[in-house]
């Protein structure tokens, strides 16, 4: 109450000056941020453009379904590689996702103790492991013991890469569900596992799926672990105990060959791989996408859709 009207006018004059400068600074920062975003997008965009440009000519029905032809010719295709990628991603997910989700649930819902803290720490470290190290590990543990390269080994290696990611994202998604829903469940006399599985997970679905997709996208492109576990082959899938082909491996092999036709096929394979990853993403988002607006509202209880 000691500020007089004159002083207030003084202060207001001050603000006016500052405001002009601040608006200018604001604009500049805006432009800088925008510029950086463009810089970030350009390489991404140009990669997509490049791959598309170079690879689109290779695509044909034969390309997508046939086995590789003799080296150097333009014959054959990447059929086995596509099949292999789908199989290996599927198998790895079958192993990695349940383990990851369960770990995530443990860490989030039952994880207020020392064991959980240690698990979380190791999980984070594990997530950063170079995939080649995990590949070597799978090699030692499965390939050497069994004596041959196999799909099991590949699935194992990829699952190892996958599950820390899934565990972490599952944990984070579950933690994002406000505690008040658990309280409501408790107050209704529900058992803890019922609350966790029927209420909390249901609310965290969006985040969990995003996490799983992230993991799938990651392993879809992993090459190093596959080199040491499934080795690669020119045949379609025959059994779990023999080597199998996969797109990353095929791309690698094709691009190292000096022949232009092989390189073209390599581009084609890369394009296919990108499409597959994008396709998985879109498909799952679409399937669960009906709940997409609701995912936002999960975060804020008591918020209405009406404006």
């Amino acid at each position: 109450m000691s500020t007089t009207n004159e002083k207030r006018e003084e202060y207001r004059a001050l603000f006016k000056n500052n405001v002009k400068k601040r608006l200018l600074v604001d604009k500049i920062v805006h432009i800088i941020i925008f510029a950086f975003v463009i810089i970030a997008i350009i390489p991404l965009g140009s990669i997509l453009v490049e791959v598309f440009k170079n690879g689109i000519t290779a695509i044909s029905y034969e390309f997508l379904t046939a086995t590789p032809g003799s080296i150097g010719t333009g014959d054959g295709g990447i059929g086995p590689a596509i099949q292999g990628t789908l199989i290996i991603i599927g198998l790895a997910s079958l192993i990695g996702v349940p383990i990851g989700v369960m770990s995530g649930i443990f860490l989030s819902e039952y994880g207020d103790n020392r064991l959980a803290r240690n698990v979380r720490f190791f999980n984070d470290v594990f997530m950063e492991f170079p995939s080649i190290v995990l590949g070597i590990f799978a090699f030692l543990v499965i390939v050497l013991i069994l004596g041959h390269f196999s799909v099991w080994a590949g699935a194992f290696a990829l699952a190892l890469i996958m599950f820390p990611i899934v565990a972490r994202t599952t944990e984070e998604s579950l933690k994002m569900v406000p505690v008040t829903y658990r309280e409501a469940g408790t107050a209704l006399g529900l058992k803890k596992w019922v609350i966790t599985f029927r209420i909390v997970i249901s609310a965290a679905k969006g985040g969990m799926i995003t996490g799983i997709l992230l993991a799938v996208s990651r392993i879809g492109g992993e090459t190093a672990p596959l080199i040491m576990t499934i080795l690669g082959s020119s045949q379609f899938f025959s059994s779990m105990d023999v080597p199998m082909d996969a797109l990353p491996l095929r791309i690698w092999r094709l691009s190292l060959l000096p022949y232009e036709s092989s390189q073209l096929q390599g581009w084609g394979a890369a394009l296919v791989l990108i499409f597959i990853i994008i396709g998985i993403n879109l498909a799952i988002r679409y399937y669960f996408g009906n709940g997409n607006e609701r995912i936002m509202k999960l975060i804020k209880p008591g918020v209405t859709a009406k404006k």
């Binding site: 207020d112 406000p178 008040t180 829903y181 658990r182 309280e183 409501a184 469940g185 408790t186 107050a187 209704l188 006399g189 529900l190 058992k191 019922v194 029927r198 209420i199 249901s202 609310a203 679905k205 709940g291 609701r294 509202k297 999960l298 209880p301 008591g302 918020v303 209405t304 859709a305 009406k306």
Partner: protein, 279 residues
């Protein structure tokens, strides 16, 4: 001589009678009795040796400044503190004749006798209105659709929500307005057929019209349920409750019939608080 029917009469409805202090609450049956309840959060004492008796089929309000322990105390009545890691509850909480903190008691089973409504409406976001109301039943194994339908209609009517939603029970619960969501939560709590209803500032997140509806609901419900409500709105306590307990720094300072507590508080601290002289 006062007859039995007169003792049943709600004190808030009567004008100040000439026998003002003669009607003793002993004549009323107590649904819940909390005896010597002390609650520790880690090293701090949230609630200090509180004893309260809650008469049946009436509304008891708990008032007090922020941090006085009223919500902490409320939550011990349905063993919500089991969920909190550092919380330690001592004392007895009797529901009818059973001590809820007895070692042999299954808290999950007994929580169904004491329903709870929270401050911010929290209907399960991925479920429809119908599923929300039946959540406590379905997720506990009740499958008979006929019974579920009946209970949904019954509780939504009790919560004054039936008319507004009866045509679209499959609608997602979070598409309702705040006040409707809170009434949905009340219906959900009622669906498990509790005997006591605990309400933690049920109208504080709502606009005045919604608040009024909640208060009307409470006034109707007290005919069948024992209701304990924590509120920071003293006018609400006056409007809605029959008995009021004033808590301060974890202790129960005064507990009396609402009208008496607000017109003639015995304790100086109570007088100061209700008149807005602090906190």
């Amino acid at each position: 001589m006062t007859t039995l029917s007169e003792t049943e009469q709600k004190i808030t409805n009567s004008i100040d009678s000439q026998i003002s202090d003669a009607i003793s609450p002993v004549e009323k049956k107590f649904k819940m009795i909390a005896e010597n309840v002390t609650i520790h959060y880690g090293n701090t004492m949230g609630v200090k040796n509180v004893t309260m008796k809650f008469p049946e089929k009436s509304v008891t309000a708990l008032i007090g400044p922020s941090g006085c322990g009223k919500t902490t105390f409320l939550r011990c009545l349905n063993r919500m503190h089991d969920m909190t890691k550092n919380a330690k509850v001592e004392g007895k909480v009797m529901l009818d004749d059973i001590d809820l903190y007895d070692k042999s008691i299954d808290p999950i089973y007994h929580r169904r006798k004491v329903g709870m409504v929270f401050q911010k409406p929290n209907p399960f976001p991925t479920m429809s209105i119908y599923d929300n109301v039946t959540a406590g039943l379905k997720l506990n194994g009740v499958k008979d659709k006929r019974i579920l339908d009946e209970i949904v209609e019954d509780t939504l009517k009790m919560a004054y929500l039936w008319d507004e939603v009866k045509n679209d029970l499959k609608k997602s619960a979070i598409e309702l307005s705040g006040g409707q969501q809170q009434r949905l939560c009340i219906a959900r709590a009622l669906a498990i057929q509790p005997e006591v209803l605990l309400m933690d500032e049920p109208a504080s997140a709502l606009d005045p019209i919604a608040t009024q509806k909640i208060e009307e609901t409470i006034t109707e419900l007290k005919k069948d349920y024992t209701i304990i409500i924590v509120t920071h709105n003293m006018q609400q306590a006056v409007r809605v409750s029959d008995y009021t307990g004033f808590m301060y720094l974890g202790e129960l300072i005064e507990f009396r019939e609402t009208k008496k507590l607000f017109t003639d508080p015995k304790n100086d601290l109570t007088a100061k608080y209700v008149q807005g002289q602090f906190g």
